[in-house]
């Protein structure tokens, strides 16, 4: 678990969430050295803060899979959903 700790902000939401869950389980198991526990806790707090921030600033990302001229597929940024709730006629 302590191997290759990436910067929290480089993790995807899912990766960060999975790591957090793992940290909590390890903390809950109570098998860790105190130093390790404190280190994990610090990491956990960091993950938690990052995850919370992401929930707050989440913006939808939409892309469209299009065929390129050579026939291969490529992802092209698409429009996110309209944020207004008015009806268009």
């Amino acid at each position: 678990m302590a191997t290759s700790k990436k910067n929290v902000d480089e993790l995807t939401y899912k990766e960060a969430s999975t790591e957090l869950e793992l940290i909590i389980r390890n903390l809950e198991s109570g098998d860790m050295e105190l130093e390790e526990s404190l280190e994990s806790y610090t990491r956990g707090v960091e993950l938690l803060r990052s995850l919370r921030a992401r929930l707050e600033d989440a913006e939808q990302k939409v892309s469209v899979l299009l065929k390129d001229v050579d026939g291969t597929d490529k992802l092209v940024a698409g429009e996110a959903a309209d944020t207004s709730d008015r009806l268009s006629f």
Binding site: L20, L38, G44, V45, Q60, V62, L75, A80, A81
Partner: protein
């Protein structure tokens, strides 16, 4: 030939000269009956109406078949009805094979059907049901072979028409529910000629995206039974079943169920419901994080508390052990201190003094005795 008929009876067919002799009803009906009998075996498509099941007493069925303009009585004899492959119901489009028949006693014409099969949508439905059964027997609908869909899919491909309202519904639903879900739209025709092939290709392209999406939404808005027939295509159903990425379907509205729905890894009733099913709502994620924070704090508090009680126990043991050692030392010291040499340093001198005094006494005694003896000799 009289110009009128006073008796009220039909004129007898005797005035052969004018060629317009009247027929008896029997003769006329007989002629019509033979004309009808001369018709070949007919196959007629019509809508069933007024069907009330086989007659309780005779077992024959009497009802009508109709189209927009016409209707005709229809009879199915008990023996023919017994060979049916499905139950007739009002409103069904059915293809009847049989002959016209005139019931001479009432002059009523009926179509006597010897056999019947479903036609139109009914036929399609029957074929769809047969395909569904076939795929079910192959095990394509078994839960055991369905792929697990992550609770929180963060990367989702949507295979549908990019021009309809459905793609917007999906985007809007997920933006509101969970904007962390990244959407990748893969366009394909969803109805008409070539739609199944485009959808099959769309699924393959979506599954090939790198990194692979967590799941694929295969969605389409509501439509008529025939509009939705695309999703009853066998090749498309097999592509859904064999897709390496889990497929979530949302096709049509609540009661619509297609073959694709049956073989997909998760079936939702509408495109919106399908979109909602792939990721938890933001508020739920916040709750999850809150719960995790509490767990983490509790766990660490527990660890620290356990460590500090360990420390306290160790300290107590150390105190006890050290205290014992100290008291042993003290006892040794006390014992040493209790020795007479230390308790009363004068004792050594006193003891020697006593020895000396004793020696002196003995010396004194000896000298006295020696003097007496020498003096006496």
């Amino acid at each position: 030939m009289p110009g009128w008929n006073l008796t009220g009876t039909a004129p007898r067919a005797q005035g052969a000269s004018e060629g317009d002799e009247a027929l008896s009803v029997s003769q006329a009906v007989e002629m019509a009956a033979s004309a009808l009998d001369a018709l070949p075996l007919l196959t007629v498509i019509g809508e069933v109406t007024g069907f009330r099941g086989p007659n309780a007493r005779s077992g024959h069925c009497y009802f009508q078949i109709k189209d927009d303009a016409c209707a005709v009585d229809c009879i199915i004899w008990r023996g023919s009805y017994a060979k049916r492959s499905f139950e007739l119901r009002d409103g069904m489009q059915v293809q009847f094979t049989g002959n016209f028949n005139l019931y001479k006693a009432t002059g009523r014409m009926s179509f006597v059907a010897k056999s019947f099969t479903l036609a139109g949508e009914g036929l399609l439905r029957q074929q769809v049901a047969a395909l569904a059964e076939k795929l079910r027997l192959e095990g394509l609908c078994d839960d055991a072979r369905k792929l697990r869909i992550p609770v929180f899919c963060t990367r989702v491909a949507v295979v549908t028409s990019l021009s309809g309202a459905v793609i917007d519904d999906v985007k809007r639903t997920l933006r509101r529910r969970n904007p962390l879900v990244e959407l990748i739209c893969v366009g394909a025709k969803v109805q008409g000629d070539g739609a199944p092939a485009e959808l099959i290709e769309g699924l393959a392209r979506a599954a090939a995206i790198d990194p692979a999406p967590d799941c694929i939404l295969l969605v389409r808005g509501g439509g008529s039974f025939e509009d939705l027939m695309t999703f009853n295509d066998e090749a498309l159903a097999r592509a859904v079943a064999s897709c390496p990425v889990p497929v979530v379907t949302g096709i049509g509205h609540e009661p619509d169920t297609s073959i694709c729905d049956m073989v997909s890894d998760r079936r939702c009733s509408t495109p919106t419901a399908a979109a909602e099913s792939v990721a938890p709502a933001m508020s739920d994620l916040v709750d999850v994080l809150d719960a995790r924070e509490r767990r983490m704090v509790t766990a660490l508090t527990g660890t620290v508390r356990a460590a500090s009680s360990d420390v306290a126990a160790l300290r107590e043991r150390a105190d006890r052990a050290f205290g014992g050692y100290m008291s042993r030392l003290a006892m040794a010291l006390d014992a040493a201190a209790a020795r007479p040499c230390l308790r009363d340093p004068a004792w050594m001198v006193d003891r020697r003094l006593a020895d000396l005094e004793q020696s002196a006494d003995r010396l004194g005694g000896a000298a006295a005795r020696g003097g007496v003896e020498r003096g006496g000799a």
